[in-house]
């Protein structure tokens, strides 16, 4: 279970998170939606222990992330960064199997490469991509390689920061199915940030809407479209007028 308790974070005096409370049940798939700049990525980084909250704490399982060293929870977490964050200096297959090449659970190069190719196929990429460098890939391909890196080693918890942004509709569907499959077959807990309402319905059981530093609505993803909550109504229908002020 992931527990987020009264988390506050400000950057140079400007509040980004202003008392976020949230619970993510084990084995569930949850989506976080919210306008650009709402602090969704910052919240994920706090969960990873990359950013320290000013007030409040988060815990994963029984381990407090904000106080302990990040290393203790990270071995069970897979993360897809919004900007992919692939290592430029390594070919695609080494990026995917980085954990197995440099980490504690070492594998032979042969085995690691094989796993990388399997994962590449899972995200809809040809095995020829394995030997290319990230700089030779398109934005959408990078995203899928990063997705492959996030799910390698079957982590128990996976964070996806906008996994389908920049992908075509067909690939979006493939990736959404893949995320659903991972959650179901690996019994992983998934937390996905997205702007796409139909993706939310496809991959998530629960949704939370983060806006102006707080969770404004939480509920089943099926109920998202029918919700009368003014924040949700405005977000789902893309209205310019409402409680969310577009700057």
């Amino acid at each position: 279970m992931i527990k987020i308790n009264n988390v506050h974070k400000a950057f140079s005096g400007q509040n980004v998170l202003d008392g976020v409370d949230m619970l993510v049940q084990e084995g569930s798939s949850t989506a976080i939606i919210g306008t650009s700049g709402a602090g969704k990525s910052v919240l994920l980084k706090i969960l990873l222990g990359l950013i320290r909250p000013d007030i409040g704490e988060v815990s994963i399982g029984n381990i407090k992330v904000s106080k302990d060293k990040p290393g203790r929870t990270l071995s069970e977490i897979g993360m897809l960064f919004q900007g992919s964050a692939l290592f430029d200096s390594l070919p695609v297959w080494q990026n995917i199997c980085f954990k197995f090449l440099k980490g504690r659970e070492k594998l032979s190069i042969q085995d690691a490469k094989e796993i990388a190719i399997q994962k590449l196929e899972k995200v809809g990429l040809n095995h020829e991509v394995a030997n290319k460098y990230p700089s030779d890939l398109s934005g959408g391909m990078k995203k899928r390689v990063a997705l492959a890196r996030a799910i390698v080693g079957n982590p128990k918890i996976i964070f996806f920061d906008e996994p389908t942004t920049g992908l075509d509709p067909i690939m979006t569907n493939t990736i959404n199915n893949l995320i659903r499959e991972i959650v179901e077959t690996m019994e992983a807990t998934a937390l996905t940030i997205t702007h796409d309402i139909s993706s939310v319905e496809q991959i998530a059981d629960n949704v939370a809407l983060l806006e102006s530093g707080r969770i404004r609505w939480e509920g089943k993803s099926k109920k998202l479209r029918d919700s009368k909550n003014p924040y949700v109504y405005q977000f789902v229908n893309g209205k310019t007028k409402g409680p969310i002020t577009a700057i």
Binding site: G71, L74, I77, F81
Partner: protein, 257 residues
């Protein structure tokens, strides 16, 4: 009053920076001897820092040695002491010019590239990605570079010294009418082990300074291309100034002992 306030503020920022640098050095040392070691990364760093610096270092030393021979000849001839050229070229290169010029040249090449590389990784979240893959960025990125620079610089300086002396020799026998055998004999008889070793010890310190400023500025680079640019510039400036300061302090130490 305003001046005092600003002075206090600057002093505060300066002390904070010293604190951060000290913390950074401690984290490098505490990661130096604990597993895991990234052998591949260390080898790559030796190649990029040590081996790839050879051409530029060699050329610098060659020209400096040649120019030094001409200058000392011009100076020496004022009191009929032209024969000191080989000795002074050798001593000058080994004690001062080899280490300092070598250090500055390598600083320009290596501190900037380390800072740019790590800075780019920082702003594109690759450093964050390393952490999420349970890899300590200090251990994976900084330790190999610090090791490689600290251990290669003395070797580079030894090679630079030799090439510099060769430059002086070539100018000496071609332009200044020294005979090859006199030049070599005079170099060999005047040069002492302590001249060479002091330069090599300086190299160890300079290598550490270069890699430290590259890594520190890279890891503390602010966001965007501009941030990386600034980090790169600060790394080179800091490395050069610290090398010159350390050179003076080390020279005092060797001079007294």
């Amino acid at each position: 009053m305003r001046i005092l306030q600003n002075l206090g503020k600057s002093a505060n920022i300066f002390l904070q920076k010293i604190g951060r640098v000290t913390k950074f050095i401690i984290s490098i040392f505490s990661n130096l001897f604990t597993p895991p070691t990234y052998g591949g990364e260390i080898l790559k760093a030796f190649f990029q820092i040590g081996w790839m610096s050879l051409p530029v270092l060699g050329l610098t030393a060659l020209f400096t040695g040649g120019a030094l021979a001409l200058q000392i000849y011009a100076g020496g001839s004022r009191f009929n002491a032209e024969q000191v050229v080989p000795a002074i070229v050798a001593i000058g290169m080994a004690r001062e010019l080899g280490p300092v010029l070598g250090g500055l040249i390598v600083a320009a090449r290596v501190a900037s590239s380390i800072a740019a590389e790590i800075g780019t990784m920082k702003v594109t979240e690759q450093v964050d990605a390393l952490i999420t893959l349970s890899t300590d960025p200090i251990k994976y990125l900084a330790v190999p570079r610090v090791l490689a620079a600290t251990l290669s610089l003395p070797v580079l300086i030894a090679i630079g010294d030799s090439i510099g002396i060769l430059g002086g020799y070539l100018v000496g026998i071609n332009r200044l009418d020294f005979s090859s055998s006199t030049y070599l004999a005079s170099t060999a008889s005047m040069l002492q082990i302590s001249d060479i070793s002091s330069g090599l010890v300086k190299g160890v310190f300079f290598g550490f300074i270069i890699s430290l400023s590259g890594c520190y500025c890279g890891f503390h680079s602010s966001n965007g291309a501009e941030g990386v640019g600034k980090a790169t510039k600060s790394a080179v400036v800091a490395a050069c100034v610290c090398i010159l300061a350390a050179n003076y302090i080390l020279t005092e130490v060797f001079f007294n002992s």
